[in-house]
């Protein structure tokens, strides 16, 4: 295995892992849900991308390992399509559930820009305590 390739692969490995670690660190450290969502969805995804890149380089340009591996490409595509969608879903949920966020801003759904959304849907008669999310105590 060429030395330069080893350097490149090692770099991507460590860098990718570092990004992933930072993502998780963000998940632990940040103050509210909306902030915390950033860590995993951005940093960790990017970190995984780095590791996948390293793996692709390692397996495809390494004479010691026979064959061509396109799995990394597949995984990367898969991940890069799905990660935003799942992040979107979670953010949507958080908005819907009126999660507080740090910094004194009001509930995002009460923001003037969003008021019409509320009017469109008749929320009266809905008992929100019945929303299933496992947070509330009985």
């Amino acid at each position: 295995m060429a030395f330069w390739l080893e350097i490149v692969v090692s770099f991507f490995l460590v860098a990718g892992a570092a990004f992933a670690l930072i993502g998780s660190w963000g998940l632990v450290k940040l103050d509210d849900f909306y902030m915390r969502l950033h860590g995993p969805t951005k940093a960790t995804t990017l970190g995984l991308g780095g590791i996948l890149l390293a793996s692709a380089l390692y397996f495809n340009f390494n004479p010691d390992v026979a064959g061509v591996s396109i799995h990394e490409v597949l995984i990367t595509i898969f991940l890069f399509i799905t990660a935003p969608v799942s992040a979107h879903m979670m953010a949507k949920t958080a908005l819907q559930k009126h999660f507080d966020y740090v910094g004194g801003q009001q509930d995002p759904l009460n923001h003037p820009r969003n008021v019409h959304t509320i009017q469109e849907h008749d929320l009266s008669g809905m008992d929100e305590s019945q929303i299933p999310d496992g947070d509330e105590e009985e």
Binding site: I81, Q96, L123, Q130
Partner: protein
Amino acid sequence: MTMLLIVLLPFLAIGPVWFAARFSRNASFYVAATTTGLGLGLLASLVPEVMAGNVFVDSWPWIERIGLNIAFRMDGLAMLFCILILGIGLMVVIYAKFYLTEDDPIGPFYAMLMTFMGAMLGVVTSENLLLLAMFWELTSISSFLLIGYWRHLPAARQGARLALMITGSGGLFLLAGVLLLQEITGSLELSVVLASGPQILDHDLYWAALICVLMGAFTKSAQFPFHFWLPNAMTAPTPVSAYLHSATMVKAGVFLLARLHPAMSGSPEWFFLVTGAGLTTLAFAAYVALFKHDLKGLLAYSTISHLGIITACLGMSTKWATIAAVFHIMNHAAFKASLFMSAGIVDHECGTRDARLLSGLRHSMPITFGLATLGALAMGGAPFFNGFLSKEMFFKEAYTLSQAHPYWPDAEYWAWIFPVVATVGGLFSVAYSVRFIHDVFFGPEAHDLPKHPHDPPFGMWLPVAILVAVCVVVGVVPMYTAESFLYATASPVTGYDMPEALHLHWWHGLVPELYMTLVAIAAGIGVYTQWKKIAAIGDKLPTIVGKDFFESFIEMLIEGARALDRLVDNQSLQRYMAYTISFATLAGFMAYIEEGWQSGTGVQTPASLVSLVPVILLIAGAFMTDFFQRKRLVSLIFMSVVGLIVSLMFIYFSAPDLGLTQISVEVVTVLLLLLALFVLPQWNPVESGWLRRSRDILVAASAGIGVGALAWGVMTRQQQTIADYYLAESLPKGGGTNVVNVILVDFRGFDTMGEVSVLALASVGIIVMLTGKKPLYPNQVMPFPEERFPLMLTSVTRVLVPTALLVAFYIFMRGHNLPGGGFIAGLVAVVALAMQFVASGLDWTKGRFKLDLVRLSAIGVLLAVGTGLAAFVWGRPFLTSGMLHLHPPGIGEVHIASAMAFDTGVFLVVVGSLVLIIRRLSRYQQTMEVQDKAGGNE
């Protein structure tokens, strides 16, 4: 061979008899009668030889390991019983044809009768004692069915149950006795057992064997104190009573005594137990019989009493007493069967058999009157009847006992009890015989009977007439009719130790037994004239009704079982589970304590610090699952962490297939549990106190420690593996390099087939559970009138689902050689489809995915089975796989093994069943939502 045929014939006739009844009652009757007649004919071919003193033994090995042979023995005793069973059987078959009404199904009746006849023939001709015990139980079962023939009558059902329980448990005693005899003599063959009499008597186990055998005999022959089932069995149709309860089945007990008489008699135990039981029964039952108003009840107790005579004779066990017993067996069968049939005729024609209602029937039923009177005279022991002869012999033996006996050389004053009890029994016997005739046929003519009485059709009284004729002929001229026959039949019972000649006569001069008879007759008639006064005294005496005693005993057993049940099971699953798990854990620890637990000495794989982290995560995940168990959703999330880590562990420990399966199953499980959770409550209330919780923690911890210790103990020991075979043969025989998959679809394909069938069955069960009308139940309302299907999600899945299905296909295709295969591919496809459901809803998907899922899994199962069956075409065993190697250009080598088809079957079953389950559950919720809304609008 003839003997086998005689026994088998009735069994062979069961089907035809039943079947013929579908055409006409007559057809069924003719088949039954012909069979019985044929049996008699076959028997007749053996009679001359047996009369000459020959013994036939035929044997075919069956289960030699336990000494069970199909072996038959035909000697005098067996012949006597065969004649009784088949002869009286024929009478009963004819009689029943007329007795049963159009409403009574005749096919089952004759079928059961044939079963009983065959079983009875088996009992009396068995050479092998184990075979005898088997037939013995079969008689109990078939008599249970026959007694309960009128199943709409509660009394019939109770009587049948009682009879089965008493005689059936007696049969178990008999089985034990038989096995003890085998222990003593080393053989189950009668010829051996009969020849080793002294050895049996000297053996330490003689007592136990004797008790067991006597229990069997006494229960069957209704000897005191097991007599009470017989009167209760009188709810049976009269042909059954006549056949089972007078002539044959109850005789099985005395048959057994007679059969084993040469081997087991001759000890004081035998003498006192058997004679004591016989005499007690004789006097007691005769006394009770006098006060029975039901004619059949009277006859039933009379039967018990006469069986007592036979038992007592066998107990005395002298040469002449034994001969008397055999003689009385045949005499009693003749007169009692005829009397039962007469009682049946009276019942049939008058609509009642209550002696208090019946009166003066001699005018309207002259033929019946004549026949019944003759039969009753025989029963009462009047001179010139067969009953007289055998009873004389019995009296004589009883008198002899009072004079001297090996067990008491000098005449003892208490020994007078034998002739006195015998006479008293005879006295009551006379009394109830007189009552039977006088109450029913004499006196003023009764006018308030349910039916207008008249003589029955010819076919009904003919059997009675034949039997009565036998009684009279034997009674008048015994020396020409019965002497040689009795000699031949009694020989095996006495152990071939017979007097020179029998010289049966009804006049022996002025001997003690004649006085005893005269006293009995005179006093009997006297008692009858005063019977109402005596009955008044009798009513004041405390009575023990055996049936009630028995019922309360059974009640006590049931109550005890209930109490025990309440003790361990208070309808609480929690408690039940706690007990079960604790017990299992305790049992495991017992093994540790007994054998000592120690870790093995095998090589251990050192672990790095890094590998500690997943374990910590897993433990944390599992712990949190418990910690948050009251918040169900959170608990579920933690459980899926556990699943993730477990699949990582599988991957790490060289099991990629397992990792793939685990992670896919994990997600499908989460989907399913989420679907379910939507219906179920979101939280668990606080229910357990600290005591309950500490107990549960204790139970859980000890179970965990036990299992963990076991795992540790196993893993640290050297392994004996059979894996090398699979690893070596996977490629040459299974045509694949992924050994796990080859094992699944090839080596252990049969197991896999079973497992996919189970999966398919589970899905069918789930469909059944979720089908039908759903009850309305308050449920979480839809919280947000948000867009139902987020646009981004929907758009992305348009791309992802086909990709995922492609991945599934890819994993499936390579499964035979690389990690993958039908199970995993199926799960991936399920997840892909579930994703589609989540993103676009059921209706959208259903419009584009038209597959009958039930059919899909059915096709899968059939495909798996069909692949297995295809091997038969090439003459190979089930599920042998074939292979085809193709080299299409550009792709490389492609193996097409027949295992591929099998794997396709697995794939289809997994997809069909799982998608079905998911779809059905979400449909279920939708239905409930609709109902909720409808309910809210009203």
